[in-house]
Amino acid sequence: MTAFVVRRLIRLVVVCVGVSLVTFAILHASGDPVSLIMPEAPEADRAVLRQALGLHDPLIVQFARFVGRAAGGDFGNSFFHRTPAFGLVMERMPTTLTLTLLSMALAIVVALPVGIYGAVRRGRAVDQVATGAVFLGQSMPVFWTGIMLILLFSVQWRLLPVSGWDSWTSVVLPTLTLGAFTAPLLLRIVRSSMLEVIGLDYVRTARAKGVAEWLVIGRHALKNAALPLVTVTGLQFGLLLGGAVITETVFAIPGVGRLIVGAIRQLDFPVVQAGVFMLAMIVVSVNFTVDVLYVYLNPRIRLR
C-alpha cells in the first residue's frame, strides 16, 4: 500500500509539472500582456513594464523561476488585480467546488435509482422515458440548458432568481444545469452495468435461494455494477469542472472558471497558471481517490 501511494504521489508531481509546462508554453506563445495592460502607451513605457513583470527574460528562465516559486505556493501577482494569483483562485474555489459537488450529487441521486429501475424493468415506460432523457440531456450544450432553465423558471414562472450566488435559491438552476449535463452519462453506465450483472449466475443463485428482490439488486448486483460507475464518476469530475466554467458565466457565479476565462482574455498569466494548476490538482486527487476506492469495491484488484 505504501509503495502504491508513493508511486501515485510521484505521478501526481509529474502531472502537475506537466500541466504547468503546457499552460506556461501556451500562454507565452499567445501574445504580449503588456500591450493589453497599456494599450495607448508608447513602446518605451511598455518595455519598462515588461521588465518589471519579468517578461523580458528568456522563456526557460521565466519557467524555472515560475516552478521555483510555485513549489512554495507562490504563483506571482496577478497583472491586473495586483494581488497574489493564488489567493484570487483560492477565494473562488469553494464556490466552484460547491457547484460541482452539488451537481455531481444530484446526478448520482437521479442516475442510480432510475438506472437500476430501468435495468430491472427493462423496456417499460420508465426505462423508455429515461433513455429518451439521456439522449436529450447529452445533446444539449450546458450553455443552452442554462439559458432555457432561466427562461422557464425565472422569466416565465418567476420562481427562482435569474443569476447570482447570494441565497440557496440562486444555487438551484446552476446545479440543475450542470446536473443535467452529467446525469445522462451516469444513468447509462448504471443501467448497462446493471443489465450485465443481473444476468449472471450468482444473481440467479441469490434469487433461487429466496433472497428478497431488493437485497438481490441493492446488495449483490449493485456492488459489482458499481465499479464502472465509480470510474466514470471520477472522470466526470474533471468534465464537470470544465462545465462549471460555462455555467459560472451564464449564471454570473463568482467561481474559479469565470476567473480563468477573464484572465485568459487579459493574458493575466499568473492567474491562469494558478487556476489551471489548482483545478488539475483536484482532478488528480479525485482520480487517486477513485483508485483507492477500487480496492474496497473489488478485492480482486491488487495495488501494485
Binding site: 495607448e40 496577478s78 495586483r82 494581488t83 418567476r158 447570482g164 463568482p254 482574455r265 493574458l267
Partner: protein
C-alpha cells in the same frame, strides 16, 4: 404515461400561479455590467466597466453634460494662459465621503500619482492619457496651473475623466487598500461593499455638492452573459443594462416592464485595409471596395436602424468632423469598373479578419457584397482572445484587412481616432502595420500640436479629404449605444457611453 401526465399538469399549473419574484426596494438602483474592473481605484485600471463605476463615486475637474458640452465640476472655471499653461479655479467647500474638504493639494496629488515625475516605471495604465502634462502647480488654495510640455489640445477632454482622490486618505491606507476596500471620492455615491464578480454596493453621499442623488442605494452587478442580463432586466433583478443586441431590442421595447434608450455614439466601424500588399496597395481597388458596400441596407437590416453612415472614420459628434465630405455611395457597377481599371478585370481574392464576434453577421454580409463586385472575400473570424492579440497586435499579420470598431476612449476629438488608426509611428496601433498614405503622419502631428481650434479644424478637414480619396479603409458607419432600462427608472443613453446615474430618477 396516461396517469403520468396528470401530476405534471398540476405542477405546471401551480408554477403558473406562483407569485412573481420580489420587486426591488424603491430607493435602490441596480445596474448590470459584464464585469468588474480589478480595482475601484480610478487611476489604476483602463477599463470601461471600471470607469462607469468610478464616475459615480469620484468627480473630475470637468464634467460633460448629457448634451456633451463641458460643464464645471470640481473646477468652476478654466482658461489657457498661454500655449502650454492652463489655469483652473477650484470649487470651494467640496467634501469627500469621509468628511474632509477638497484642497488644491488633493488635486496636485491626484495628478502626481499618475504622472509619477522622476520615475521611469509608471504604475498607472492611464499615464499615456496625460503624459503631456509636465507639472501641476498650486498657485493659491483655489487655483492650480497645469503645465504641458507642448501645446496639448486634448487636455480638457482628458480632464473630463481624471478623478480627484483625497491625498491624506490615500497616503494613510495605501494604494492597494484604496482600490480594494477603501475608495473615497467626492462623487454622488460612496463605497459600502464590494463582492468581487458579484456586486458593488454604494450609498448616497449626503454632503454631495450637486445635491442628493435621486437613488439612495446603487448596486453594480457583474453579469458576463448578455442573455442573462436581459432575463434579469425583464424580471426586475436589474434596472439597467448596456449593449442590448439589435435582435433583442423589439422584445425590450414592447416588454411590460422595460424600455430601450438609444443614441448615436463615437463608436465607428470600418474595414481597415492593408496597404503594404496587393491588391489594396492600389488606390483604385480600395475605392472600389468603398463603392461595393450598401451601408444603408446593413444599418436597416442588421442593426435595427441604429446606425449612421460616415464618410471617413471621424464621427459626427467629434471635434474636427467635416460634413462636407460625403460617404461613398453604394455603386456596384462603378466598383467593378474601378477594379478592372486597377488590373483586376476578373476579380481578386482577399482575406479579411475580425475579432468582433458580436458583429459577425455584419461582417459576413459585407464580405458577400465585396465578393459580388469581384473582391472575393475569405472571412476569418477570431476569438477576441490571446491568439488574436498575438496574430494582430504583436505581429500585424492580419492581411488583407480587418473589420473592427473604435470608440475613441470617449474622447470627442478627431485625433483620438486618426492617430491610432492611421499614424505609422511605432507606438501607434493599426496604422503602423497597415497605413501607407504619403504626408498623412505629418498632418496628424500638425493637428495635435496647437491649441488653435480653428486651425486644427482646418487641418482635420484636409485630413478627411485626403483619407476619403486615398481610402486606407472601407468607411462604414457609427453605432448607437443601446440601453435596456426598467420602466420604474427614468434615464437616457448618452453620446459618450457614460452611465452618469446622478441623472437617473425614479418614475412616478
Amino acid at each position: 404515461m396516461r396517469h403520468g401526465s396528470l401530476p405534471l399538469l398540476a405542477v405546471l399549473l401551480l408554477l403558473a400561479l406562483a407569485p412573481s419574484a420580489d420587486a426591488q426596494p424603491k430607493d435602490t438602483l441596480t445596474i448590470a455590467l459584464v464585469a468588474h474592473a480589478p480595482t475601484l481605484d480610478p487611476h489604476m485600471h483602463f477599463e470601461r466597466v471600471g470607469i462607469l463605476v468610478n464616475i459615480n463615486m469620484f468627480d473630475s475637474l470637468l464634467h460633460r453634460s448629457a448634451k456633451l458640452a463641458y460643464e464645471p465640476a470640481l473646477a468652476t472655471s478654466w482658461k489657457a494662459i498661454n500655449e502650454t499653461t492652463w489655469e483652473f479655479k477650484l470649487r470651494k467647500g467640496v467634501r469627500f465621503h469621509n468628511g474632509d474638504t477638497l484642497t488644491a493639494e488633493d488635486v496636485k496629488f491626484s495628478f502626481d500619482r499618475v504622472l509619477e515625475p522622476g520615475k521611469t516605471t509608471k504604475k498607472s495604465p492611464q499615464y499615456g492619457n496625460v503624459r503631456a502634462i509636465k507639472e501641476v502647480r498650486i498657485v493659491d488654495p483655489d487655483t492650480i496651473h497645469v503645465v504641458t510640455d507642448k501645446p496639448f489640445p486634448l487636455l480638457l477632454e482628458r480632464l473630463v475623466f481624471f478623478p480627484i482622490v483625497p491625498k491624506k486618505h490615500v497616503e494613510k491606507v495605501g494604494d492597494d487598500a484604496f482600490g480594494a476596500s477603501a475608495p473615497i471620492g467626492t462623487g454622488p455615491w460612496k463605497f459600502v461593499e464590494w463582492k468581487r464578480d458579484q456586486y458593488i454596493r454604494l450609498d448616497a453621499h449626503d454632503g454631495y455638492w450637486r445635491g442628493k442623488p435621486p437613488f439612495k442605494h446603487l448596486i453594480v452587478r457583474a453579469i458576463p452573459e448578455i442573455a442573462t442580463e436581459v432575463a434579469e432586466l425583464k424580471t426586475g433583478g436589474v434596472d439597467l443594462m448596456r449593449n442590448v443586441p439589435a435582435d433583442l431590442v423589439p422584445e425590450l421595447k414592447t416588454g411590460p416592464q422595460t424600455y430601450v434608450s438609444s443614441t448615436p455614439i463615437l463608436r465607428v466601424h470600418q474595414i481597415e485595409l492593408d496597404m503594404r500588399s496587393a491588391p489594396f496597395d492600389k488606390k483604385l481597388v480600395r475605392q472600389a471596395a468603398n463603392y461595393a458596400i450598401d451601408k444603408q441596407a446593413i444599418i436597416q437590416k442588421l442593426m435595427g436602424g441604429l446606425g449612421q453612415q460616415v464618410a471617413t472614420v471621424v464621427q459626427p459628434p467629434a471635434f474636427g468632423f467635416d460634413a462636407e465630405v460625403k460617404p461613398y455611395p453604394y455603386d456596384p457597377p462603378k466598383a467593378r469598373e474601378l477594379l478592372a481599371r486597377a488590373g483586376y478585370p476578373n476579380g481578386v481574392d482577399v482575406t479579411l479578419h475580425s475579432a468582433s464576434v458580436e458583429f459577425r453577421p455584419l461582417f459576413e454580409a459585407m464580405a458577400q457584397m465585396l465578393t459580388e463586385v469581384g473582391i472575393r472575400v475569405n472571412t476569418r473570424m477570431w476569438d477576441p482572445g490571446p491568439a488574436w492579440n498575438k496574430f494582430f497586435q504583436s505581429e500585424g499579420k492580419a492581411t488583407n484587412g480587418i473589420y473592427f470598431n473604435w470608440g475613441n476612449y470617449s474622447v470627442f476629438d478627431a485625433d483620438a481616432v486618426l492617430h491610432p488608426l492611421f499614424h505609422t509611428e511605432p507606438g501607434g496601433w493599426i496604422g503602423k502595420w497597415y497605413t501607407r498614405v504619403e504626408g498623412l503622419d505629418k498632418l496628424i502631428d500638425e493637428g495635435r500640436s496647437t491649441l488653435n481650434q480653428p486651425q486644427r479644424k482646418r487641418t482635420y478637414s484636409q485630413i478627411q479629404r485626403v483619407i476619403h480619396e486615398e481610402a486606407p479603409a472601407i468607411f462604414l458607419f457609427t453605432q448607437y449605444d443601446t440601453l435596456g432600462i426598467a420602466k420604474r427608472v427614468e434615464y437616457a443613453a448618452r453620446g459618450d457611453e457614460w452611465l452618469w446615474l446622478f441623472d437617473a430618477k425614479p418614475r412616478r
